[in-house]
């Protein structure tokens, strides 16, 4: 599975807004590059990224080729209850990757 680095604080106080970061290894081949024989490198990108907090979707992104290689996202969510924050990436050619972090909310 592609290497991913995700960052969720291990602990938070109920109601706090905290930052989540997600970084995944992927070339994001745009489909616009051409080799010196004129042949196109076919598109191969991550198209979707979803972050869920105890199963409920808190962030969803639709990616286009203009997203840089090794896509990185930083966004925020509110600490509601303890549990798992899960990350799912999917894309061209059946690309799929997941990650998960636990958070304790007091």
């Amino acid at each position: 599975m592609a290497r991913a680095i995700v960052n969720v604080p291990p602990k938070a106080k109920h109601g706090d807004v905290f930052e989540i970061k997600a970084l995944i290894q992927h070339e994001m081949e745009t489909g616009f590059r051409v080799d010196n024989m004129g042949k196109v490198f076919p598109r191969d990108i991550i198209t979707d990224f979803v972050c869920k907090y105890n199963g409920e979707e808190i962030f969803r992104a639709e990616l286009f080729p203009a997203v840089a290689a090794n896509p990185f996202f930083s966004f925020f969510t509110t600490a509601t209850e303890s549990g798992a924050v899960t990350f799912e990436w999917s894309g061209d050619n059946g690309f799929s990757a997941t990650a998960s972090r636990n958070i304790v909310v007091e």
């Binding site: 745009t30 590059r33 004129g38 490198f41 286009f64 080729p65 997203v67 996202f73």
Partner: protein, 162 residues
């Protein structure tokens, strides 16, 4: 520039690459060129209309943070933040990024909700040329707000040609 039967354009691209001015992104061992950008400001307007429909897009509430001078168009850090209380009744539903000179006008579309607590997104994008980037936020009341930034994109002096 006329596009004759193949040879004229290929020579233009090869000549441009030799001078090091073409946007040449080399895969190791291969010289790759990017096909000329097909997007136009018109294509961007169409892409925006596909998202907002006939609703007016006002400027304000959105802050699009991009460096005015970019060292490499391949990786440009961008932050979009929207002034919103992010409550159940008043929050940002989505943030969209558009550009006018890449081959495609869409960059990314993000769905948020009141649980976000803060309407802020940071990501890294590609910009093929100096151009205008537009961020549009859709609020829970159906209104659209935007901000735009004009960016100058430079390349490192010694572009890789292997």
């Amino acid at each position: 520039m006329t596009h004759g039967p193949g040879s004229t354009r290929r020579r233009f691209l090869t000549d441009a690459a030799a001078v090091g001015t073409a946007l040449a992104v080399a895969d190791l061992g291969l010289l790759a060129t990017i096909t000329p950008a097909a997007a136009t400001p018109e294509a961007m307007r169409t892409a925006i209309r596909n998202v907002v429909g006939e609703a007016p897009v006002q400027t304000g509430k959105v802050k699009l943070d991009l460096p005015p001078l970019v060292e490499s168009g391949n990786v440009v850090s961008v932050t979009v933040s929207v002034d919103s209380p992010m409550t159940a009744n008043d929050h940002v539903k989505a943030i969209h990024l558009f550009n006018e000179k890449n081959p495609l006008p869409n960059v990314i579309g993000v769905r948020l909700g009141p649980r976000a607590g803060r309407a802020s997104l940071t990501t890294r994008i590609r910009l093929a040329d100096s151009q205008t980037v537009i961020a549009i936020a859709e609020l829970s009341d159906g209104s659209f707000w935007s901000d735009s930034v004009s960016v100058i994109v430079t390349l490192p002096a010694c572009v890789e040609t292997l």
